[in-house]
C-alpha cells in the first residue's frame, strides 16, 4: 500500500495474509472462505502452474487475526481444504486478468472475534458502489516505498468511471496490450501517490454501505501498471456473485 496508513487492529478484521506464490492478500467470507485473486495461486506465465490444486491447497499458508506479519505467523496457519479458481482465469494469457478471482476453503471454520470478522458481499442490485468517485478502502501487506510491509496498511481510493480507466490505459501505449474487461473496475489517482502495489493482490476493495452500516467488498486487488503511477485495476466482485454463492452457498 502506497501513501496509506497503518491499520489498527479490528479495523480490517477480514484481512488475510496469504503465502502461496509469494505474499498476497485475501478477505474472509463467512467463517471458512478466503476470497482472493486467482493470480496469487496461478501467477501469469509461471512455469510451475502444472501443480494440482490439491497440492497447492496442501501447501498454502493463510493467516488471520492480526495487523503485524510476525504476530500473524506466530498465531499460526489456517490450513486450506480446497481451492476454487474461476474458470475464466487463464494464467497463460498475460494480457488479460479477466476472471482474476479465487476462493480458498479453510479446513476448519475460524472463530470470529474483534480481530477476525468476515466482509460482506454487495447486493446484486446495487451498482452505486462502482460510481465514479465512490470512495473505498483497500488494505494490504504489500510493498510500501519499495519495501514489503510488516504491518497492515490501508489507503482510501476513489472508484473511477470506466471511460477514464480506458482512456488512461489507452494513453499508456504499452507494447503489450492489456485487457480492461467489464469484469474489472479501476480506482485511485493519476497524480496522487496513493495506490495498491505488489503484495496487496487478493486483498479487497471495500466501501461502507451507509444504508446497512456494513462494509462491503466491491473489488479484489488485481493488476496495475507500476504502483502509484495511475489507476489500479480491481476484479469487479459484483459480476462474480453467482459464482461465489454457487461455491460458498447462500449463507
Amino acid at each position: 500500500i502506497l501513501g496509506g496508513k497503518s491499520a489498527r487492529r479490528g479495523s480490517f478484521p477480514w484481512q488475510a495474509l496469504t503465502g502461496i506464490h509469494g505474499r498476497g492478500g485475501g478477505a474472509l467470507l463467512g467463517d471458512r472462505w478466503i476470497l482472493t485473486a486467482a493470480h496469487t495461486i496461478f501467477p501469469k506465465g509461471a512455469l510451475e502452474n502444472n501443480v494440482s490444486l490439491d497440492q497447492l491447497a496442501e501447501e498454502a499458508n493463510v493467516f488471520l487475526g492480526h495487523t503485524k506479519v510476525e504476530e500473524l505467523h506466530r498465531m499460526g496457519n489456517h490450513p486450506v481444504r480446497r481451492i476454487f479458481i474461476h474458470p475464466d482465469y487463464n494464467p497463460k494469457d498475460e494480457h488479460s486478468f479477466n476472471g482474476d478471482i479465487a476462493l480458498l476453503e479453510l479446513k476448519y471454520p475460524v472463530s470470529l472475534g474483534p480481530t477476525v470478522l468476515p466482509i460482506c458481499l454487495p447486493d446484486t442490485t446495487n451498482t452505486t458502489f462502482y460510481a465514479d468517485g465512490r470512495m473505498g478502502y483497500v488494505s494490504g501487506f504489500g510493498v510500501e516505498k519499495n519495501f514489503i510491509s510488516n504491518d497492515l496498511k490501508y489507503v482510501r481510493l476513489p472508484a473511477v468511471a470506466r471511460e477514464k480507466c480506458q482512456s488512461w490505459l489507452d494513453s499508456k501505449k504499452r507494447d503489450i496490450p492489456v485487457v480492461f474487461s467489464e469484469n474489472m473496475f479501476c480506482a485511485g489517482f493519476l497524480t496522487v501517490k496513493q495506490d495498491t502495489c505488489q503484495g496487496d493482490s487478493g486483498s479487497v476493495f471495500t466501501v461502507l454501505d451507509t444504508a446497512s452500516g456494513r462494509w462491503v467488498a466491491t473489488g479484489i486487488v488485481s493488476w496495475g501498471i507500476g504502483c502509484a503511477e495511475g489507476y489500479g485495476f480491481y476484479t469487479k466482485i459484483l459480476n462474480y456473485l453467482d459464482w461465489i454463492k454457487g461455491i460458498v452457498g447462500e449463507d
Binding site: G10, D31, L117, V216
Partner: protein, 440 residues
C-alpha cells in the same frame, strides 16, 4: 338210624310202609339239607296207633334243639295228635325224626294194622337277612350294614364310605384316600352326624387345577373329642394346604370358614379307640386365586381400567403420565403388563415412572444456551433459549424460534416441535474499529 343224605328234597317212610309197620320199632331219620336252607317237612300220609299223649306209637320231630311235637293217631281219631297237613319247618338246616312203635297194635284183642306214615321234606331257602329267622335269640345280625339274601345263601355289603372286612360281615369306614376333584363339594367324618367310628385314619384330599383357591366352611354340628387342658389329645382334625399345616381342630366350637389360598388341600382325621362325638362336615368351594390389588409406586403411574378384584389369569396394564418413562430397574420399558399367576402373585413387580430427561441440549457452535426455568435441569418441560456470540454472529432459527422445550419424547424441540437447533452465522462488515476520518 339213618343219615339222610344232603338233598334238597326227599321222602321218609315208616318201616314197611305202605304195609303196617312192625312193632317194637325205633327208627330215626336225621334230615340234613345244605347250608342256607331250612327243612320243611309235611306228612302226606299219617296212620299211627292213637293213644293219649301218643304214649304208645309216635313220631317225634326235633329241630334246632327244640321239640316240634310228638304225633300219633289217624285222621278222625279222637285221641292222639295227628299232624294233619302241618308244615314242620326248621330254623337250621337239620331236622330229627324219630319213629317209635310199641309191642302191639291191638284194640280190644283186635290187631289193627296201622300203616305208618309217608312224609316229604324239602329244602327251603333260608332268608338269613330276616332277623326273625335267627336260629338263636341272641344271635347277632348276619351283616353289619346291608344283608342280601339269595337262594342258598346271603352276602353282606356296606354303606358308602365303608369297606366290607374279611369276615364278610363287618364294615369299616373307608376314608384313607378320598380324593375330591370337583370345584365344590362336601366331605364329612364317617357316619356323620352319627358318631364316627374309632381307630380312623382318614385322609381327604382336594385337588383342583392350578390357579384355584379352596375355601372350607364347617357346618353344624361340629363335635370332636377333646380335652380341657390338653389340645386335641384324643382325636384330631388336621388341615394342610400344599404340605403346610393350617390348623389342628377338635372340640365343639366350629372353626368356621378357612381360606386356604391353595388348590391342594389335605384333611386328616385321626381317631383313637373310643369316643362318642358326632364328627364334622365341610362344604368346600373354590374360586380363582386372588392376587394383591396393584398399587402405583408413584403419582405418575397410571393403571389402566383398575379393577376391584384381580384373580388368576387376570392382568393389568401400566403406563405413565405424559413426560414420564416406564422404568423397570434401570431399563426403560415401552409397555408393561403383569399377569396374576396360579400361586396368587403377579409375574412382574410394579414398575415406576421416571420423569423424561432430554439430556444436555446440543451445544450451539459459536453460541450458547441458558435455562429459562429456575430448576435449570434437563427434565420434561424444562426450557432453554439459544443465543449467539454477538456481535460477531447472529442467530438464524427455524419458524419455531430460539426457545426449546424438553418434550415428552425426550428431545429438545422448538415451538414448532422441531429438533433442529438454530445456527450462528457470521456477521459481516462490522469491524469493531471502523475507519473514521478526522482530517478533512
Amino acid at each position: 338210624s339213618s343219615q339222610v343224605p344232603r338233598k334238597l328234597f326227599g321222602e321218609i317212610r315208616s318201616p314197611s310202609y305202605p304195609k303196617p309197620y312192625p312193632n317194637n320199632n325205633i327208627s330215626i331219620w336225621d334230615i340234613h339239607v345244605p347250608e342256607g336252607y331250612v327243612v320243611k317237612l309235611t306228612f302226606r300220609y299219617f296212620d299211627l296207633e292213637p293213644s293219649e299223649s301218643c304214649f304208645y306209637d309216635y313220631v317225634k320231630i326235633k329241630a334246632d334243639k327244640k321239640n316240634l311235637g310228638r304225633y300219633c293217631g289217624r285222621l278222625g281219631s279222637t285221641t292222639g295228635n295227628h299232624p294233619g297237613r302241618k308244615n314242620f319247618v326248621s330254623k337250621g338246616n337239620k331236622m330229627h325224626l324219630a319213629f317209635h312203635s310199641d309191642f302191639s297194635n291191638e284194640d280190644n284183642g283186635t290187631v289193627i294194622p296201622y300203616k305208618g306214615f309217608l312224609a316229604y321234606y324239602q329244602a327251603v331257602d333260608l332268608d338269613e337277612c330276616d332277623p326273625n329267622n335267627a336260629a338263636e335269640e341272641d344271635e347277632r345280625p348276619h351283616c353289619q350294614h346291608f344283608c342280601h339274601n339269595y337262594v342258598g345263601g346271603y352276602f353282606c355289603s356296606c354303606q358308602a364310605g365303608y369297606q366290607l372286612q374279611g369276615d364278610h360281615h363287618s364294615c369299616k369306614a373307608q376314608c384313607s384316600s378320598e380324593l375330591f376333584t370337583e370345584a365344590s363339594g362336601y366331605l364329612s367324618s364317617p357316619a356323620y352326624p352319627q358318631p364316627y367310628p374309632e381307630d380312623l385314619r382318614c385322609n381327604y384330599s382336594i385337588r383342583l387345577q392350578k390357579g384355584l383357591s379352596v375355601s372350607l366352611k364347617f357346618l353344624e354340628p361340629f363335635e370332636i373329642d377333646d380335652h380341657q387342658q390338653v389340645h386335641c389329645p384324643y382325636d384330631q382334625l388336621k388341615i394342610q394346604a400344599r404340605g403346610r399345616e393350617i390348623g389342628e381342630f377338635c372340640g365343639k366350637e366350629s372353626p368356621g370358614s378357612i381360606e386356604t389360598n391353595s388348590n391342594e388341600v389335605d384333611i386328616l382325621f385321626l381317631t383313637d379307640e373310643s369316643g362318642f362325638s358326632r364328627g364334622w362336615k365341610i362344604r368346600y368351594t373354590s374360586e380363582k386365586i386372588r392376587c394383591p390389588q396393584p398399587v402405583p409406586r408413584d403419582q405418575f403411574t397410571i393403571i389402566r381400567d383398575l379393577q376391584p378384584l384381580y384373580q388368576f389369569q387376570d392382568y393389568f396394564v401400566v403406563s405413565c403420565k405424559t413426560g414420564y418413562n416406564l422404568m423397570e430397574g434401570n431399563q426403560k420399558l415401552l409397555s408393561f403388563t403383569a399377569v396374576c399367576q396360579a400361586d396368587g402373585t403377579w409375574h412382574r413387580s410394579m414398575p415406576r415412572c421416571e420423569i423424561v430427561n432430554c439430556g444436555n441440549p446440543t451445544d450451539l457452535t459459536n453460541g450458547a444456551f441458558r435455562y429459562v426455568n429456575q430448576s435449570a435441569n434437563n427434565n420434561y418441560q424444562s426450557e432453554i433459549t439459544y443465543r449467539c456470540n454477538e456481535p460477531y454472529y447472529h442467530i438464524v432459527t427455524g419458524t419455531g424460534g430460539d426457545r426449546f422445550t424438553c418434550s415428552a419424547e425426550g428431545t429438545w424441540v422448538d415451538q414448532d416441535g422441531q429438533v433442529r437447533i438454530p445456527a450462528c452465522l457470521p456477521v459481516c462488515g462490522k469491524p469493531v474499529n471502523p475507519i473514521t476520518e478526522l482530517e478533512r
